[in-house]
Each structure stands twice: as C-alpha cells, then as structure tokens.
C-alpha cells in the first residue's frame, strides 16, 4: 500500500522536476544538509585515521613523520595481530551462535499462551537495556570471591577451580556469559515478533497431516521467520565483532592476552603504549570487515523489501 502511494508520489515529483527544475531538485539536499554538516565531523576522523596510520604518531613526542606502510606491515607480521583476529572471531562467532540458538529457543517458549509466558515476555527484556558496562559490574558483584553469590554456590557444589574472569581458561566463557545475558533478549524479541506475525492456516494443516513438531519447525516456522532471524544474526555479529565494553570492564583484555580482541589491542596500543600510529591499522582492518558485513545487510534488506512489494 505504502509503496504504491510512494511510487505515485515519486512519479509526481519527477513530473514536477521537469517543470520547476532547480528549486525542487535541491529541496531534499537542503533538508538533509544540517544532518550532513553535523556528521561531517564524524567523517573527518575516518580520513584522519587513514592518514595517521601511515605515520609514527605517538602521544609521547610532539613530532611525527610519514612512515608509509610500516605500521601495516608490522601489524600483519606480528603474531599478536593474528592472535587478536582469532580472539575477535571466536568471541563474535561464539556469542552470536549462543545468542541465536538460545534466542530462538526462548522465543518459541514465549510464543505460547499461558500466564508464565505472557508475564515473562516483558520481564526478560530488562537485561537488554542495561549498559554492557553496568551488566559486567553486576556480574562481578555476583562472581567475586568474597561476596559473590555464584562463587559461593559453586564452592558449595565443590567446584573451586572456576575463577571466572581471573583465569585464562575461563575468561572467555565468562565474557560470553555476560554478553549472552545482555544480548540474547535482542534475538528473542525479533524472533518472537516474527513468530507472532505468522499466519495460522499452514500450521493447522500441518497438524492435521500429523507432521511432527520438528518437521513443522524445520519446514514451516524456520523459513517463515528467516527475514527476522537474518537481521538479528547480522546485527549481533556486527556489534559483537566490535565489543569493547564488557571485556574492558571485566579484564582489560587479560589475563595476559587471553581476551585481546582487535578493539582492545587498538586501545592498549594507543592509550597504554601511546602509539597512535601503530594502533590505527588494527581498527581500520576491523572496520573494513564490518563495512562489508553491513553492505550485505543493506543488500538483503532491499531484497526483502522488493520481495514484499512484489518486484
């Protein structure tokens, strides 16, 4: 409906443009210009980032000079870079996987009509709107050695070697738990919205035909909620690739270099070692990756919109 009306309007605008060219042609740009002016200040840093990545700029010295691709070559040949890439990918991959599976499961459970599901639909959103840093602090209060109730429970169960963020072997699990605590509801509410908009008829006929629950889910539910699911997964993937808050608040990238993702490495290079020039390639390479991902999102987006409007 809306698209149709929009097409008509677009036609009209085009006809108008032929009659009164300049003034109307410029109108959208005029309206957009304040937003552009405001964000140009955010565009400048991108240029600056590329420029400074080619210099030996350091917060320790007043002067800097052009060093070409030195920082880039140094980055690609350092083992710590490949370690960061590995940590970043496993963090983002695992977080997205856990949150997607858990999110779908919880959404299916919430999509039933009983008191429990109805009341939890609202309550379970709470962690999603709490700042990731604050969420980390909450979990630190839960797991700390002296007053943490979770540590206490683990001790009573006889598990004494689970040291949460302090131990290299459990640090990744700990940040993943916190990430899942905050962001699983994101997947849940998108999938739930998808489930609630499903038509009833195909499910009724599947039930009459005696299809198993798994059969119905695989062949009916899943394909039908796919658009929401893909959006949810891509959003999660993109934001967990750049996750800084939770890891920084919990361990600053430690213990050792266990949780040194690309953002944490860039932060440490710039603000601990004061080497801005060295730190920038780490973020630029991540941005490149995220940029392509976001392109994919927009492509998919236009595809579903076109499909919805029958083009």
């Amino acid at each position: 409906m809306a698209t149709e009306a929009y097409e008509k309007q677009a036609m009209k605008e085009r006809q108008l443009t032929n009659k009164v060219p300049w003034k109307i042609k410029m109108r959208p740009f005029l309206i957009l210009s304040p937003a552009f002016l405001l964000t140009i200040g955010i565009l400048i840093p991108f240029g600056m980032a590329i420029y400074f990545s080619l210099t030996n700029y350091s917060f320790k010295y007043a002067e800097y000079m052009f060093v070409g691709l030195e920082n880039w070559i140094a980055m690609f040949s350092s083992p710590s870079f490949w370690h960061s890439v590995g940590v970043t990918l496993s963090y983002a991959g695992l977080a997205t996987l856990i949150e997607t599976l858990l999110g779908i499961g919880i959404a299916l459970l919430l999509n039933r009509e009983n008191m429990l599901a109805r009341s939890l639909r609202i309550v379970l959103i709470f962690p999603l709107v709490i700042a990731p840093v604050i969420a980390t602090i909450i979990w630190q209060l839960m797991t700390n050695n002296s007053v943490g109730i979770y540590s206490d429970w683990l001790r009573q169960l006889g598990i004494t070697n689970f040291n949460w963020g302090a131990d290299p072997s459990t640090a990744l699990i700990t940040v993943l738990i916190i990430d899942a605590w905050v962001f699983t509801p994101f997947v849940t509410i998108l999938v739930l919205a998808g489930l609630r908009s499903l038509p009833k008829a195909p499910f009724e006929s599947a039930m009459i035909d005696g299809g198993s629950a798994w059969f119905t889910f695989k062949n009916l539910t899943l394909p039908m909620i796919m658009p929401m699911l893909i959006i949810a997964v891509l959003f999660r993937l993109m934001l967990s690739l750049q996750m800084f808050d939770i890891i920084f608040a919990l361990t600053r990238g430690g213990p050792g270099d266990t949780l040194m993702t690309l953002p944490l490495t860039a932060y440490t290079e710039a603000f601990t070692y004061k080497e801005l020039g060295v730190s920038l390639p780490f973020m630029l390479i991540l941005y490149l990756f995220v940029y392509f991902l976001s392109h994919f999102i927009v492509k998919y987006w236009t595809y579903t919109q076109n499909k919805a409007s029958g083009k």
Binding site: N114, M228, I231, F244, P263, T304
Partner: protein, 271 residues
C-alpha cells in the same frame, strides 16, 4: 498425558532461563539494602537498611555524574531530533539521485567501530578544545543517535499515505504547514519511541565518555567502573548506584515496548 509432560518441561526450561536473566537483578536489589557488616555472613535473611542509599546521596558526587549523564544524553537526543526529523522525511518522501547511498551512509555510522571514531577524535577534540566538554560529548553521541533516529523515522514517514499530504496541500496548506500540522502529529508515537530508544543507547554508552571526557564531564558508566577499580568498594552502595542508573532506562524501555522491535532492528522489522 504426553502433552502435559511436554508443557511442563517447556515451562521448566523457561523458568530456568528466567532465573539466569532475572536473578542478578533481584540480587542487586537485595545487596543494595544490605549493611556492609552483613555482607559476608548472610545471604537472604538480614535486617534491611537504607544506609547505602543515604550514603550514595550524602555527597553530591553521584548526583553529579547522574546530572552529567542527563545533560549529555538529552542534549544529544534534542540535537538529533532537530536535524534528524527533516532528514528522515526527505529520505522517505523525495525521490532523488543518490538517495539510497545517502541513507546507507548514515546507517554505516551506526556500525562504525567506536574505538576507530574515538582515536582520531581524541586528537581533534584536544585541538578544538572540545575534550571533556558537554558540547564535545553531545556532538560525538550523534554517531549513535542520529542514524538510529533517521532510519526508524524514515519507516514511519513511509507508512503515512502520500494522499493525506496531497489532500492537505489541495486545501491550500503550504509545504511547511503540511509538515508541521499534518505529518508531525501522525508520526508522533514513532518519534517518541525512536527518541527514547536512542536515549537508551546514548545513556548506556561507555567508550565515548571514557576517552573523550575526563574530570569535568563524567557519565555514570565511567564513574562506576572507576569506583569498582578503587580499593574501597562498598558492595551495597555499588549495587544501589547500579540500580539507580539502570532503573530509568528499564522504565523507558517498558514505555516504548510496542515499538521496541521496530526500533532495535532500525526499522527493518515492523513488529
């Protein structure tokens, strides 16, 4: 019988997850009413005290962080609304060359890694004298709030039939009058929802306030992390502070519940 067992197992699984999701928040409430001396030797049974909250508000420090957070968040959202609403309208209504490219450029800001934006801005802000100022933070928060607002509102504008606008124009309203008197009231629910949602993101931000502000402007997220890092942690006060910082956000989220799906997916899912 089999059905009953399945339903029971489903409820049990849901309750288990709810425990995981909600218990930390309940525990926070409990901690915040616990006296420091009861912290180590009691769990659920103790004499509740308001001491923690009294301490929290006794010096102006915590209230100061809170005010700073309010100033920068509301400032950022107000600015985003002023420039974002017209931009969203233009992107929804006009058909012009490069429209999708421009829309995508705005969207891509939202996905720019925060650290990448911050590193060069750190230099630029010190040059310009914007480091550790309200204006500086309000400006950089546009990275978060403006794309969100533009993309969500664009969808709401597209939902309004063009016929409505054309009819008003036939009645003799000028283009501006149509915008202010006809279109704006129609998108008001969407505007409120997207403004509140961007407010949540800005309020919760950590990276920008950590690196582009210092002594003068400190937001609650940064302040609380500093407090945890100091060695005089009073757990009860900490819990109270965390609760007070999160409660307004939870209430905001509840008030825009109906629009949450649409907002969080930046308008791509019209739940």
């Amino acid at each position: 019988m089999k059905k009953k067992i399945i339903a029971f197992l489903q409820n049990a699984a849901l309750v288990l997850y709810a425990m995981f999701a909600i218990f930390p928040l309940l525990w926070l409430v409990i901690l915040s009413f616990k006296h420091d001396r009861d912290m180590f030797n009691t769990t659920f049974i103790f004499t509740p005290t308001l001491e923690n909250y009294r301490m929290l508000f006794s010096d102006g420090e915590y209230i100061g962080y809170f005010l700073d957070n309010i100033i920068v968040s509301f400032g950022a959202i107000a600015l985003s609304i002023i420039v974002g609403v017209p931009a969203a309208y233009a992107l929804a209504r006009f058909d012009f060359k490069g429209r999708d490219g421009i829309a995508f450029t705005f969207l891509s800001f939202r996905f720019a890694p925060e650290i990448l934006v911050v590193l060069p801005l750190f230099l630029l802000y010190q040059e310009l004298g914007l480091y550790d100022t309200y204006v500086g933070l309000i400006w950089v928060f546009q990275v978060l709030s403006l794309p969100l607002l533009i993309w969500i509102l664009r969808g709401y504008f597209e939902d309004i039939s063009v016929e409505v606008e054309n009819a008003a124009r036939l009645d003799g309203y000028s283009w501006w009058q149509v915008f202010i008197k006809i279109v704006m009231p129609l998108i008001r629910p969407g505007l409120v929802a997207s403004a509140l949602l961007s407010l949540i993101f800005v309020w919760n931000n950590f990276t920008f306030s950590l690196l582009l502000a210092g002594q003068d402007v400190t937001t609650t997220t940064v302040a609380m992390l500093q407090y945890v890092a100091s060695d005089t942690v009073h757990y009860g006060q900490m819990a109270g502070a965390v609760l007070i910082a999160s409660l307004p956000i939870i209430i905001l989220a509840l008030s825009i519940q109906k629009h949450l799906v649409r907002g969080l997916s930046m308008g791509s899912v019209k739940g």
